[in-house]
Symmetry: C2
Subunit: 350 residues, 2 copies
């Protein structure tokens, strides 16, 4: 399986914590994974300065120069126009030129999506790329008892059509099968009721199209099913997905704050918390987005993993591992196959 | 303040647990609140049979006969057609006739909304009634350090217009000020970004209308702000509200399951949990919908409180107390005033 090494182009300048954290993530990965190379894209001196301070395997790291990086608060299209050789554009260019297999960035989400759209092609039959998010649930699935499920689109698609939703379902199913190793991922539409006629007209139409076959489509799920992890892939429009995803993040923050406050309040509580560590690590695991390594941008001819802006080195390392897994599992090929098996999409693709 | 007693019409046959739980709730309330009367509507023999078994104050309870009740899984309009004297229709009729001040039901949500729409009038300027839900947050607000916030619509309004959203904002603000006793509740639109131009066209237009004044409008909030409790009133369309609300419920269920599993696993964990009781009751309080007594249906000329179908006696008692508070605080008058102060709504009302 791991004959030829896989090369990941890492935008080493992106993210809230910049080059220092990105390069520490790459360094850590280089010591662990023998079949992954990281092509670190950014300011070469700054990247090397970080490497000089941390253990790393130089045979698994390559540095590629770029000029500038998109600031986290920039208007993406204007910034990309002003910075034609910035780290994210250069990383995407290196992938489209064949120097690397996939892109990872913790930088500006909008700029990452735009840069990828500029250098990569949309797959046939896919009308809209989607940003997906892996999120933790109370369920367990797949050969590894994986508690994670996938939700998409969580990007900015305000007005997903029925065909867009079908495309999201196909891409989500392919990603879930590659990453969680679930053979036939259970896919559902997120709606305000489980009946086939519940939801907006787009959801009702997508329900009909998905019922015609091609995927393990189980119908509609409700908000209740998101934390429970009833299904492997939750499909929704980007507006709803954005609200739901941020709410999950907010829940995690609230729980962590409550736990920290509790532990600072008294010795008895600190003791109790330490006795409970298994149980609390369960909750922690359920709300620890760093563990699951980023949000894939799906629908293009190369894999793109968008790590959280707040990512620390561990999250960057995990995002690169996930990117390598999408290459190893031929995510792009699986999405192509999924489109071909879905009548609602092949009509458009013809 | 409590000169004339307030009378609540209770649909005593509704809810998953039926007459037994509803009447136990009413009985409990009768022993506690001297200025509230409960007009219990349903099968008189069945209601009396429950009262015979529990402590109650007969001077604060009246039984009114009704024939039949809408089953929890019925199609609401068909059921109301077949059962013209069922408990929910009779309860609403008694309120519109002046025999009671507000309605409480734990029965079928759709049937409750339809029965209320049949017997009550929409307030001038309000184009659509909304179902609101009080939900627990990590914040604290008002004179009682109340951790609850309000979200609306959580009903089935799939296509809320900008004016509908403005109406929801006015009604939510009035309800929050009456129930949480916050003088100027902070109201926000739920969107996929805090900027004024983020969201669907309806949300962007509502943002503009609400910015013109009349309420303590603080702009858009994101999913993150829902559990944090950044604002007192979160305004959204019914489809989004439904998904979010059910997700909050699902989160509560998941946390309770984790805690129960933890406590059953070992003596050490049971001990640790008991040492932590304050901290866990915090989480419990955050996810205990029984404490906050039901969802108001807003926009009609009489208050309606829809208690959760799963309600136990305590939740029914709380819903009746909330209903009494809406009467005492003149919720309906406050909504009228709010509409008059809102230019976007008075144009329609003229």
């Amino acid at each position: 399986m791991a004959d030829t090494p896989i090369t990941i182009a890492l935008d080493a300048m992106g993210g809230d914590h910049g080059v220092s954290v990105a390069m520490r993530g790459a360094a850590r990965l280089s010591c662990e994974e023998s079949d992954v190379r990281t092509l670190c894209v950014g300011d070469v001196e700054a990247m090397q300065a970080v490497l000089d301070e941390v253990p790393h395997d130089p045979s698994r790291l390559v540095l590629a120069p770029a000029r500038g990086a998109v600031p986290m608060d920039a208007k993406p299209s204007a910034a990309l126009g002003q910075l034609p050789d910035c780290s994210i554009l250069t990383a995407c260019r290196l992938v489209s030129d064949g120097a690397a297999d996939a892109v990872v960035s913790a930088g500006h989400t909008g700029a990452t999506v735009l840069a990828a759209a500029r250098h990569f092609s949309r797959l046939p039959g896919i009308r809209r790329a989607a940003l997906a998010s892996v999120y933790p649930t109370a369920g367990a699935r797949g050969p590894h008892d994986d508690p994670f499920a996938l939700m998409l689109d969580v990007g900015a698609t305000l007005d997903a059509s029925a065909e867009d939703l079908v495309g999201f379902a196909v891409m989500g199913s392919a990603y879930s099968s590659v990453i969680s190793e679930v053979a036939r991922p259970r896919v559902a539409l997120l709606s305000n009721g489980t009946e086939a006629n519940k939801g907006t007209p787009e959801i009702v139409a997508a329900h009909r199209l998905l019922s015609a076959g091609g995927l393990e489509f189980v119908g509609n799920v409700e908000g209740l099913d998101i934390p429970k992890g009833t299904v492997d892939v939750v499909v929704c429009g980007g507006f709803l997905g954005n609200v739901v995803l941020k709410m999950l993040e907010g829940m995690g923050d609230v729980l962590r704050t409550l736990t920290e406050e509790a532990s600072s309040r008294s010795l008895q509580w600190r003791l109790a918390l330490s006795m409970l560590e298994g149980g609390l690590s369960e909750i922690d695991r359920l709300t620890d987005w760093e563990a699951y390594g980023g949000a894939p941008l799906l629908g293009l001819d190369h894999p793109v993993i968008k790590a959280h802006g707040r990512s620390q080195a561990r999250a960057i390392r995990n995002a690169c591992k996930v990117a390598a897994k999408t290459v190893r599992g031929d995510l792009v090929g699986r999405i192509r196959q999924g489109v071909e098996a879905m009548p609602a999409l092949t009509g458009d693709a013809a």
